[in-house]
């Protein structure tokens, strides 16, 4: 039995906006075990980033988080920032959506890497720089000693993303959260980057949370996945199970809107309709305006996330076969 490294319970994130509240994430629950790769997928605005930013204590000022995120026996949610700094960057690290703007333009790569080791490992400056250069080599940066002297603007997007990865892995964290790590990159670089994630997390035994809206990315690398819609998880389970036998109509729709995976279907279809506005979620099931399987109950009640077979859960009342022809 492998060890649980993170247990998230009833995580909710709300933002105060123009006097009202926006619920970006609601009642999220999941566990992460050592070394596994969990994909978190969903359309833009479904709450993927905010859920994990909240765990890292990085919400915008108007944001509030409730629930628990247990790293071992400490709860990261609601923890004082000063205490949290003992864990951030050391046990849990994050790579952000945009590599172009996530590195400090006025500091050399070397400085931005080594400071992590100085802070968490107590290395002196010199030793930290050497270790940083070693890590740059590890993530496939040619001439790492020379590149470590560069400023971020002297590096390509792919190189910067590699620097971000190196930075996140310096302390060999238990958990790495990668928020759309490949979206901003060229297709050719994307594949290299995914391979890199896979091999490095294996080497370090790091559990990886891979946030993405691209199921093509998930297919190649993740063990489990969690599908999010309107701030809630709507289906969870092993990647293979969800791909070959999706049980939530939204998962089905996502699969059919993804190239490479949709080859099983006759054609590529985007999901009908628009992602919901968090301020005006429909009554009942949030997905009902776009759902081809909807029936009366869906309009009145909200389906809870409930077990749906071996090691999987779904939030949907429909129990029949999900026949894609019905959608198309």
């Amino acid at each position: 039995m492998s060890n649980t490294v993170l247990t998230v319970e009833d995580l909710s994130v709300t933002f105060a906006l123009h006097g009202s509240e926006v619920h970006a994430v609601r009642d999220m629950n999941f566990t992460l075990t050592e070394g596994e790769i969990l994909a978190v997928v969903g359309e833009s605005g479904s709450g993927k980033s905010q859920a994990f930013l909240s765990i890292m204590g990085l919400l915008a000022k108007n944001g509030r988080v409730t629930g628990n995120a247990m790293l071992g026996d400490v709860n990261l949610v609601g923890m004082d920032k000063v205490k949290l700094d003992a864990y951030r960057g050391k046990d849990i690290a994050m790579i952000f959506q945009d590599p172009m703007t996530s590195l400090n333009p006025s500091l050399r790569v070397r400085t931005q890497l080594s400071e992590v080791l100085v802070k968490h490992r107590g290395f002196d400056k010199e030793k930290a720089v050497l270790a940083a250069i070693e890590m740059l080599e590890r993530v496939g940066i040619p001439e790492p000693a020379k590149r470590s002297n560069a400023f971020p603007h002297e590096l390509s997007g792919g190189m910067r993303q590699r620097v971000m990865i190196a930075m996140a892995l310096l302390c060999q964290p238990k958990i790495l959260i990668a928020d759309e790590p490949t979206t901003a990159l060229d297709v050719t670089v994307q594949a290299q980057m995914l391979d890199l994630f896979k091999s490095l997390t294996e080497d370090f035994g790091t559990a990886l949370v891979l946030i993405t809206h691209d199921l093509g990315v998930v297919a190649g690398i993740a063990d489990r996945m969690m599908v999010m819609y309107g701030g809630r998880a709507v289906e969870k389970g092993k990647v293979d199970d969800l791909f070959y036998d999706p049980k939530h109509p939204y998962t089905l729709g996502l699969l059919h809107s993804t190239p490479h995976i949709a080859h099983r279907a006759a054609r590529l279809d985007p999901i009908q309709g628009l992602p919901p506005s968090l301020e005006h979620l429909p009554k009942g099931c949030s997905f009902n305006p776009r759902c081809a399987f909807r029936f009366e109950r869906c309009l009145a009640e909200r389906p809870p996330l409930a077990p749906a077979g071996e090691g999987r859960e779904k939030a949907c009342f429909y129990e029949g076969e999900l026949n894609y022809e019905k959608v198309a």
């Binding site: 951030r88 952000f96 945009d98 500091l107």
Partner: protein
């Protein structure tokens, strides 16, 4: 960085030459002259005077004579006071003016940067509101009014500081003039710094720094302040030149021995020599300041060095 500095210095030379020429011709083309006094001078005396100052030569020749002298470090003679010259004026008054302006500059910049940072970190809390008020006072109240208010209150009413005049070496005499001069400068700097810092604190890279668990102090000191300084630094050059010129007025108000009083008198008497020389002196100072700002800028923002 060194190559960049050299390029910047070289490119300042033609700018200086153009600026000198513009100053020269504008002043010379203005109507009236130094010898158009109330009492007309005898023609012979006038002709002699004009010959003495080369005013009888064609303008272009005068121009080259002027440039030639300038290259030898001579900013020109006074045309009204015999034996007086710009160099002499600078020797007498400039150290004081410079001291006054620099003192105000250093104090105002330090206070402005600090206040701006504190306000940004405490955005929409009381330190922020206090700053907004202080900035408003500094920007709205003109310096002569501010001077009068401070003189009345701290000079006359409370008697903490002398309301004017100068005693060599007495910093007490500098407190009120420096305050008048520094306040608006500090106000502008703090406002710039506050805005820039708030922007930087919201950037992705500051979020990255926080995610690394560096601690807020290091995040601010290493990741936020340096980039936040960029827009502020570009104001410092012009800011110091405002102080140097503003100092002339403040010296007059407080009766201080800078170049203020000579310059004002010279302007009233159309003393080309003094006015032109002083203007050119200021121009050189401003050019030098801009050069320094550019170099600091390049240090703060590595991208600039490669342009």
């Amino acid at each position: 960085m060194l190559g960049y500095a050299l390029r910047r210095v070289l490119s300042a030379i033609p700018i200086a030459l153009i600026a000198v020429s513009v100053c020269f011709f504008i002043l010379r083309l203005a109507p009236g002259g130094p010898f158009d006094g109330e009492r007309a001078l005898p023609p012979l005396v006038l002709a002699n005077l004009r010959a003495h100052y080369s005013l009888d030569q064609p303008l272009v020749v005068q121009y080259f004579i002027y440039i030639w002298r300038l290259l030898h470090g001579d900013l020109g003679p006074s045309m009204v006071i015999e034996g007086f010259s710009v160099s002499r004026l600078i020797a007498i008054g400039f150290p004081f003016t410079l001291t006054l302006a620099l003192t105000a500059f250093v104090i105002a910049t330090a206070i402005g940067l600090l206040a701006g940072m504190v306000a940004a970190v405490n955005q929409n809390k009381w330190p922020d509101y206090v700053l907004v008020l202080a900035v408003m006072i500094g920007v709205i109240i003109p310096n002569f009014l501010m001077a009068a208010l401070l003189q009345l209150w701290f000079g006359v009413h409370l008697g903490w500081f002398p309301a004017g005049g100068w005693v060599t070496g007495s910093w007490m005499h500098l407190v009120l003039p420096v305050t008048v001069l520094a306040w608006p400068h500090a106000a502008r700097i703090s406002r710039l710094m506050r805005g820039s810092m708030i922007e930087i604190l919201g950037t992705n890279y500051v979020r990255t720094a926080r995610s690394k668990g560096l601690g807020e102090r290091l995040v601010l000191a290493r990741h936020a302040i340096k980039p936040a300084l960029i827009p502020v630094v570009s104001y410092l050059g012009p800011g110091l030149s405002y102080l140097l010129t503003g100092s002339l007025a403040v010296e007059q108000i407080f009766g201080l021995p800078g170049i203020g009083k000579y310059f004002v008198t010279a302007a009233l008497n159309r003393d080309y020599g003094i006015v032109l020389g002083t203007t050119i002196l200021y121009m050189f100072i401003i050019l030098a300041l801009n050069l320094i700002v550019d170099l600091v800028y390049a240090w703060l923002d590595p991208k600039v060095r490669y342009r």
